[in-house]
């Protein structure tokens, strides 16, 4: 390979844009410890580090506080150590050496297991969180994959002309609703989503609020007795919602 070829691969790799066979080839060279390749990559990575160093920004202090806490928790300082020493000082008088050693082994074992239990706890929590996230994402993906899913765009009406929303709706599976550009509802009020089928009265599909940037979302269960929805609408209602719409309409979209 010529210097130029190496340089080209190293540049793309450092920038993060090297793909396919080129990437495999370059990584093989790296693994093999090819001196020219390593030097070329090191140079470019230093260059990019220089680029980053040229525009530093002060991170929010909360990040460091959280990290220091996380590190302390991960290292699980061993509280059993002084206990071990104290017992070792008192008990050898009474206990045979073998028993003291046995006790020490138990205490050490307990310390180690306490450390790991803490870590396992954290891991289990992380895993539960990920599983829950995965389930909700799988539900969304299942809905999106199904050809029977309709996507309905809702546009803002006079109370919030800039508001927009999307409803991904599947008659059997339910749907996902996302809105943006809505004003924060006044105290004691919330937005309510309605499904309108034919000339029937609107059916409530749930109540939602919006965050500080005006975005809100709602996961909608299948609506019993509602087959083909012709339109979705959002009105402002008392918090908790009403059985039938009473307030001003903010969003409307026909399917």
């Amino acid at each position: 390979m010529t210097r130029e070829e190496i340089s080209e691969l190293a540049a793309a790799y450092a920038l993060g844009g090297l793909e396919g066979a080129d990437r495999a080839r370059f990584e093989a060279l790296l693994r093999a410890g090819d001196a020219d390749v390593l030097a070329a990559l090191r140079d470019f990575e230093d260059t990019l580090a220089g680029l980053a160093a040229a525009a530093p920004e002060t991170p929010p202090p909360a990040v460091k506080a959280a990290l220091m806490e996380r590190i302390t928790a991960a290292r699980a300082p061993a509280p059993a150590r002084p206990v071990l020493r104290r017992r070792a000082a008192i008990w050898p008088v009474v206990l045979s050496g073998a028993m003291a050693a046995g006790l020490a082994a138990v205490v050490v074992g307990w310390t180690v297991s306490a450390t790991y239990e803490k870590r396992l706890d954290t891991l289990a929590r992380d895993a539960d969180q990920l599983k829950a996230e995965l389930r909700s994402q799988q539900a969304v993906i299942a809905i999106l994959r199904d050809p029977a899913t309709q996507v309905v765009a809702l546009s803002g009406l006079p109370p919030a002309p800039a508001a927009r929303a999307r409803m991904m709706w599947h008659p059997q599976a339910g749907g996902v609703f996302v809105a943006t550009g809505l004003p924060a509802p006044p105290e004691g009020k919330a937005y309510q989503l309605w499904a309108i089928a034919g000339s029937n009265a609107p059916v409530s599909a749930g109540v939602f609020s919006v965050n500080a940037s005006g975005t809100g979302s709602l996961s909608v269960r299948p609506l019993p007795g509602v087959a083909a929805v012709n339109a979705f609408a959002v009105t402002l209602e008392p918090a908790g919602g009403l059985p039938a719409p009473s307030g001003e309409m903010y969003l409307l979209g026909k399917s």
Partner: protein, 193 residues
């Protein structure tokens, strides 16, 4: 460009102490290096909240992977910056994926991230040292390729499609652009000694 600090506080020395589980060394390394990583992550993500999360992940990775740091493979700065960059781009891609699935037409901050600041030469030309200045002085075509790859996480073929240029041209521009930046960085180092 290690900062002027006593010997036990050079970046390689700090990484070695972190590898041995030294919290103070980690705290010090964070203070010295986090602004550089955060500047880059913010540039990639623009969303401060997401950037703060990514910064935390990156330094958590530093804490865990310090024992694997190999000085032969590069400087600690590069080691850190490459991690920051990879994590930030991963986050950007997942934001875009989520975006394409259902928030896309709605989330304005993403739209800004797509074609906002990168187009603004004033932002790029901000006078923050020679490397940044050199980036601003690159021929537009080379600068664009480097920015699309480094700050927006596009692969070379994606850049080729975006710019409507042959892949070979994109590859050459990335190399020429980085070589020129490398030259600028060396100039800076020479003048500093």
């Amino acid at each position: 460009m290690p900062p002027a600090v006593p010997g036990s506080e050079t970046f390689p020395a700090l990484i070695a102490r972190i590898a041995a589980g030294d919290r103070d060394a980690f705290s010090r390394f964070y203070d010295l290096a986090a602004p550089m990583a955060f500047g880059l992550i913010r540039r990639v993500l623009r969303d401060s909240e997401a950037a703060a999360e990514v910064l935390q992940e990156v330094f958590w990775q530093v804490w865990q992977e310090a024992p694997q740091y190999d000085p032969k493979r590069g400087s600690p700065e590069a080691w850190l910056v490459m991690r920051a960059k990879t994590r930030a781009i991963d986050r950007l891609r997942s934001m875009r994926r989520r975006d394409r699935t259902f928030v896309a037409p709605l989330d304005e901050s993403i739209a800004r991230a797509e074609d906002g600041e990168a187009e603004n030469p004033a932002v790029v030309a901000e006078d923050r040292g020679l490397v940044q200045a050199a980036l601003a002085q690159l021929p537009e075509a080379q600068r664009r390729v480097i920015e699309l790859a480094f700050f927006e996480g596009l692969t070379q073929s994606e850049i080729a499609t975006r710019l409507g240029e042959p892949l070979g041209t994109v590859k050459t521009r990335a190399r020429l652009g980085l070589e020129r930046l490398r030259g600028a960085l060396r100039g800076e180092r020479l003048s500093a000694t």
